[in-house]
Amino acid sequence: MKIVYFAWVRERIGKTEETVTPPDEVRTVAELAGWLRGRGEEYAHAFAEPDIVRAAIDRRHVRPDAPIAGAGEIAFFPPMTGG
């Protein structure tokens, strides 16, 4: 599963993207964030406030309870500040 990171989430993790294989019990975006949080200090830092980090699946905004099954690309990023 491909994961991409943006802005301070990317900076804290130190990667723009990676491919991961979470265990089967990781079914939702929130569970994926929780699983990533356990992968090391840099992830714990990025997901320290899990309610703040936003997610997209296949380039569409999703809520934390969205299922990740079948996702091609999952993105994690801070609240947007464009415009």
Binding site: F6, F77, M80, T81, G82, G83
Partner: protein
């Protein structure tokens, strides 16, 4: 159909308005259908914040940025009778005084054009995947810009 572009290059406001009025691509020489009665332009510009800011660095999510703006534009076209719509959002390093975003809306009458432009900007601020990082005049990094509560509230007024 809305004309949506995400680019690092600057844009030419007069050329975009002329293109929309002509009902074709920028540089079109043929006269348009002349059925547009109102055109509203909004230009978001980088400000120096009282001399504190040297530049903004805009990061975006390639692909999703265009698609999300297109979804917001489609919603604007559902809500208002628009005859033309153009959104250009820049990324990369943008210095004070330089353009960040352009929204042009065209309709028969001014109210639809004003409201659609306002709606588009409110939604772009909270839904389009762009992030601003500050570069300060003293050479240090000011960090990532935090979202403003007012921007969130501005979006909810359309719901």
């Amino acid at each position: 159909m809305a004309d949506i572009r995400v680019q690092s290059a600057d844009f030419d406001v007069a050329a975009e308005v002329a293109a929309l009025q002509a009902g074709g691509d920028a540089g079109a020489r043929e006269p348009g259908p002349h059925d547009i009665g109102a055109i509203v332009t909004f230009i978001g510009v980088c400000r120096n914040d009282g001399g504190r800011l040297a530049a903004l660095e805009l990061e975006h999510y390639p692909g999703m940025a265009e698609e999300e703006i297109a979804r917001v534009a489609a919603e604007a076209e559902r809500r208002w009778p628009l005859k033309g719509l153009c959104v250009i959002h820049r990324y990369g390093l943008i210095r004070p005084g330089e353009n960040i975003v352009l929204v042009v809306t065209a309709s028969d009458h001014r109210q639809a054009a004003f409201e659609a432009a306002s709606f588009l900007m409110d939604y772009l601020k909270t839904r389009a995947p762009f992030w601003k990082k500050e570069h300060l005049a003293d050479g240090t990094s000011g960090g990532w810009v935090a979202p403003r509560q007012e921007d969130h509230e501005a979006t909810t007024r359309w719901e």
